[in-house]
Amino acid sequence: MGGRAKNLAVSLLLPLATLLLWFVLSAGGLVPGYLLPSPGKVLVAGQQYIFGATGEGPYAGRFAGDLAASLARVLLGFSLAAVLGIPLGLCAGRLALVNRLVAHAVGGLRAVPGICWLPLAMIWFGIGVRTTVFLVAMAAFFPIYQNALTGAQLVAPIWFQAGAMLGISRLKGIFAILLPAAMPNIITGLRLGMGISWAYLVLGELTGVPDGLGAVIMDARMLGQTDIILVGIILIAIIGRICDRLLVGALRLCFKSARRQL
């Protein structure tokens, strides 16, 4: 067996074992179907949710629309968090004054669990896209900010000295030295932020928006459709994983500092 095949087998071991356990539990009648539907039932529900024609069932064919809605919200919130978090984190990491200025504000806000923002967001933005985007951005901001800050603080002083003696101005040094040197930490922050974005997306969509993967899960609970809940969970797991890989891939494509230091 080649190294690649071996690695693949190892990485699939746990998912397959889980699937097997699930089979045993539901098929053996150990757990009643309304609590844990069988894999077959979930597969059918999923197949209908994704590929079915509209009208075949309550959720048939809704996947594409839900995915588009959720993806848009995640990307919007995540982008907002990145656009604010990276520059602010880098500034705070390099400039003691900025760090002192924002330390209490950011530290205080972070101490508030993200879910606390939900009532306020609903009052401010009503039920809908903006509440979800706000929650996602709020939650994703902190890991992105914190990792950018740490990355900026950890840049070896000798690199800035080397840059200065080679005639690189401070402004150019931001792009030539600070950003690439902090890149590994920035990437860690973005990946954590992306992960948390999906968590808060579902939270935001639980509040009664008509579409989105989180909305489907909540809706299915009210109709007692446990199979659809499981379909939603599995899809979010898969899409979240794909998003993470795409994020890393995009960063590696765009920045050679990401390509070479990861």
Partner: protein
């Protein structure tokens, strides 16, 4: 003779004028409340094209002096002048080869060497040709696309040397650049350095622990004395180049420097 008189004397006994002039330099470090005077009324001068070695016990302030000349540190008192201009901050007229690895790990060897040229509005072709030339000069022609982490210590220092030589600094500051290499690699690097810098009349202030190294490369050796915090001894190495490490006079020079360090 006080150290400032010595600085003047060294400028006068040579043929060319001093390019680096340091006079009355003081520097102290404050650490946990108590302050320690590291440099005390230190003066020295380096002539254009001269290779000066600075030796001294560990912790006597050699790196501190180099950092002040590089502009990374501001002295408590005294001044450094390069070609008559007061040194106040880092600049490409004074480039440093550090003892530790200071290459940019996210850039290839080629990009590291070309880094200092990015500010110039040169056409791409000219830039590439210049980088290629220096790549060959330091004998790394085949390693252009390698990342620093895949290089040995000696190769890294070659890159470090190329990336500062390409900027054509007025003075090259070298802080124990070969200190981390084994004896074989160190001798190779010393030869390479001499080959590269002698023909271009590069001025160098070179810090080292290694007495042999000083005698192999230096025109003049200075002793930085930890007690007084100033230059206490000076020796002109009058040996012909290339220098023979087995020569009696070579050994005599080494013995003298050893003697300095022991006192």
């Amino acid at each position: 003779m006080t150290s400032s008189e010595r600085a003047v004397a060294t400028t006068e006994n040579g043929m060319s004028r001093a390019i680096l002039e340091i006079s009355g330099l003081h520097h102290r470090f404050v650490h946990n409340g108590d302050s320690r005077l590291v440099l005390h009324d230190l003066s020295l001068a380096v002539r254009r094209g001269e290779l000066v070695c600075l030796i001294g016990r560990s912790g006597c302030g050699k790196s501190t002096l180099l950092k002040i000349v590089a502009g990374f540190l501001t002295p408590a008192a005294g001044e450094c002048r390069l070609d008559g201009h007061l040194i106040s901050r880092p600049g490409p007229d004074r480039c440093v080869v550090f003892q530790e690895d200071a290459l940019f790990p996210w850039l290839t060897v080629r990009e590291n060497i070309g880094f200092g040229l990015t500010g110039r509005q040169w056409p791409r072709v000219k830039l590439d040709r210049e980088v290629e030339r220096f790549l060959d000069l330091v004998g790394l022609g085949e390693y252009g696309e390698h990342l620093p982490r895949t290089l040995s210590g000696g190769m890294k220092q070659r890159v470090a040397l190329a990336r500062v030589l390409i900027r054509e600094p007025q003075i090259l500051l070298m802080d124990e650049p070969f200190g981390a290499l084994d004896a074989q690699a160190r001798e190779e690097m010393q030869e390479l350095l001499l080959r590269l810098v002698r023909q271009r009349q590069q001025t160098i202030l070179f810090v080292t622990h290694d007495v042999q190294e000083a005698v192999v490369i230096a025109d003049r050796v200075l002793l930085l004395d930890p007690g007084s915090g100033a230059i206490r001894e000076e020796m002109q190495v009058g040996l012909d180049r290339p220098r023979d490490r087995n020569d009696v006079r070579f050994h005599a020079c080494c013995a003298r420097l050893h003697q300095w360090l022991r006192v």
